[in-house]
Amino acid sequence: MLVANIQVSETPLVLYALRRADDALILGHRLSEWCGHAPMLEEDMALSNIALDLIGQARELYTYAAKAEGRDNDEDKLAYLRDVRQYRNLLLVEQPNGDFAQTLVRQFFYSAFADLYWRAMLNSRDATLAAIAAKSEKESAYHLRHASEWIIRLGDGTDESHARAQGAIDHLWAYTGEMFAVDDGERALIHAGIAIDPGALRGRWLTTLSDVIGEATLKLPQNDWMQQGGRSGRHSEHLGHLLSELQSMQRTFPGLTW
């Protein structure tokens, strides 16, 4: 019953858009898993709203990747007809929701980066990426505010919430290094002014983390070892399970529309 995977010609620009699109889609999907399960109504709406923003960003980035590729792929094919090894997202965003603390720490690490990233991308020489950045940077600002408020509330809350938040920080820390890594293709795009150098954002990212985590009476790990692989399609076991749910309708009923 399964539909064949599409092939994607991953030129540096296609791959660049695809990686950011995959980050947004996978994290958006993860957050959507909370819909109807969040600890209170406001939070249910908040997580679903953020999921919608991210999936919206993913759609624009996929559409652009398909246009840059110039074949007959489109946003739907890119989302539904690529398998695990063809996905290019950060390992961080595919990690399971775990408990509420783990979801919010994952969101905090990512949003603190996305906020700086999209603001820097406003200056991209690529008009479409700059336009996507103009929307995303505003959304990232309130995503980060939301996550930061929760980190403080959980860390500076009860012994139980503090322990869970610290546990999530320690557990997810090794997945943060990938956000700042670049390969040769991206280096060329950075040189051309299309992409920005994520390494240059790391100092400010750490400052945001230290400020919020300090106020939350939590601690940043001292361990520098970082896990990598998502950007080149080497994923954790979790992504396959996520995709089987995300893609099940299109894989079972090819071309299905509402």
């Binding site: 406001e42 336009a131 505003k138 600002a141």
Partner: protein, 167 residues
Amino acid sequence: MVTVVNDNAVLRQRAWDVAASVVDPEIPVLSIADLGVLRDVVLDGGHVEVAITPTYSGCPAMNMIALEIEIALERAGFHHPKVRTVLSPAWTTDWMSEEGREKLRAYGIVPPQASSSRRALFGEQAVACPQCGSDKTELLSEFGSTSCKALWRCKSCREPFDYFKCH
């Protein structure tokens, strides 16, 4: 030839007015012209092409709006209209018309406050209650019933209300 040009201009204006009459399905007091979503209407050999710009990245109303534009134009006799999405320049709440802001306020939603789209991580923001005008209000959640709204509450009259987020 002058007449033809004029006819085209008249026709284009008619097509613009038809497209501009489409309202936001989630905030039906606002037309897409009030919102600044309607960017351009072009007549090409009798066919109409409408350019719209998306608002919030994840706003599900955009598909609905595109469909409504097509239906409205077909009904008005403009056959096979096309709706095109333009990303650049990116939409901002600064494009919302004065008239649109007043309509929002009358509807009970506080309009976006100009140029305050990005505030400091934990900066304070003052939003006056649309019911009683009090500025003793508090933010309940930055995320409301649609992607464009935040949920606030008035501490004077105790009524909850929506605030149209800056973007």
